[in-house]
């Protein structure tokens, strides 16, 4: 993923977590910051950062950092 560095930065910034808390195995609800509200903030940040508009189904399916990489491919974010 070419945009991986940017993707990770958005993740850390949107969830307002310490870099040490981040790892690529991160899943929804693994940490208190990634709750349902944090999820919406993350989705908005991805939309702003990559200039895309996520569909509702994709927002629901976005259940982990890795799953997010697959979903972003649909929006030509590789």
């Amino acid at each position: 993923m070419k945009n991986k560095k940017k993707y990770i930065e958005i993740f850390i910034d949107a969830l307002a977590i310490d870099k040490s808390k981040f790892n690529e195995k991160l899943k929804y609800n693994d940490i208190p910051e990634w709750d349902s509200i944090g999820h919406m903030t993350l989705m908005s940040s991805l939309e702003d950062g990559f200039k895309i508009s996520l569909e509702t189904d994709d927002i629901v399916d976005f259940s982990s950092f890795k799953k997010g990489i697959q979903i972003l491919k649909k929006y030509k974010i590789n």
Binding site: L15, N29, S44, T56
Partner: protein, 353 residues
């Protein structure tokens, strides 16, 4: 695998929440005239006798009135069309009437809303809570006054109410709903050790904490010394950053820095009584319409014409804005069932076209 949270299983709701988030981003983080929620006092009867009840339930005020189911259904359908996100069902104590409550839930069709129940928890046993989860309730908010059971029970006027309320929160979490610990914070406890103990407990249990500031309304009508002063408010804001699981209705829930205030939500979150009267909020007992005579759109359009409800206010009008409280929200004898009409208390200049 999809995201595991009850409200994420509600695609219609998710669309509306996204719309709110987009609105806030485009509107400098301010709520403006977004229609956010409905707080329904479906019935005002209660099994406790709380000293500061804002609905005058301990005085037996209109405890036999229920909003008809057909009207609830009609309101819910229109609310969904208008983009309302959430319903807060409250009383009184609605768990006194489980069958009626389940009928109301079915009428609202919770799959369209973030639907929650505010309760004292006394009758919220495990079986009841599981049933509520099955009926689409996403969250239950349980009011707690203190970490000291004696203080809570005395405030609530009934023994064992603290233990039952705390137990209810555990059942709520177990059932997969969002457990909220509701705390009223006034000048009398804003900086107390007891409040800090409550906040610590809530965080340790992984609950959310909803803070309602004490308002001189209902049983506390005219009791102005409960109102938080500037230092108290600043202290609460600091605790928001420190704890990160605190919410207030006027805070921007999407702000990951825990600082932004989207503004007082009068009219954004309307309060409907069992008589159908619509008040600007649960604590501003100013009537802006009645659901038996007008549509929700007409009522909220009218409410937003009043500049105090339309304009951005970083302070809660009912609990923090002393000018508003003194000028408009201190009428003796005013209750949720005897509200002041908006056209009687505001001047023509207070309305905008």
């Amino acid at each position: 695998m999809t995201v595991k949270s009850l409200w994420f299983n509600k695609p219609r709701l998710l669309q509306k929440i996204k719309k709110l988030n987009d609105h806030l981003r485009k509107n400098d983080g301010k709520i403006g005239t977004f229609r956010r929620g409905i707080e329904l006092n479906y019935n005002n009867a209660c099994n406790l006798r709380c000293k500061y009840c804002f609905t005058n339930s301990p005085k037996g005020d209109h405890v036999k009135d229920f909003l008809p189911l057909s009207k609830v259904k009609e309101i819910a359908d229109e609310a969904d069309e208008l983009g309302f996100i959430e319903w807060d069902l409250q009383g009184g104590e609605l768990l006194l009437w489980p069958d009626k409550l389940f009928n109301v839930l079915d009428a609202i069709k919770p799959e369209r809303f973030y639907l929650y129940l505010t309760t004292n928890g006394y009758k919220a046993d495990r079986k009841m809570i599981k049933e509520l989860a099955k009926h689409g309730v996403s969250r239950m908010s349980v009011s707690i006054d203190s970490m000291d059971p004696k203080v809570h029970d005395e405030m609530r006027g009934r023994k064992d109410s603290w233990r039952r309320a705390m137990q209810a929160l555990e059942y709520i979490q177990e059932a997969g709903m969002d457990p909220y610990l509701n705390i009223t914070v006034g000048h009398y406890n804003a900086k107390s050790e007891d409040l800090r103990l409550l906040l610590d407990y809530s965080k340790q249990k992984k609950y959310k904490t909803l803070i309602n500031v004490a308002c001189p309304a209902g049983m506390w009508n005219q009791v102005h010394d409960v109102v938080c002063d500037e230092e108290d408010i600043e202290h609460i804001r600091k605790m928001r950053k420190e704890y990160k699981n605190l919410t207030r209705n006027l805070w921007n829930p999407f702000d990951n820095k825990y600082e932004k205030i989207m503004g007082c939500t009068t009219v954004n979150r309307i309060y409907i009584t069992a008589l159908g009267d619509v008040l600007a909020c649960p604590y501003v007992h100013i009537k802006i319409g009645n659901v038996f005579n007008q549509t929700l759109k007409e009522i909220t359009d009218y409410g937003f014409r009043i500049k105090y409800f339309r304009d951005y206010s970083p302070l809660c009008l009912a609990g923090e804005d002393l000018n508003f409280i003194k000028n408009f929200n201190s009428t003796p004898g005013k209750t949720i069932f005897k509200p002041v009409n908006a056209e009687d208390i505001f001047s023509k200049d207070d309305f905008v076209e």
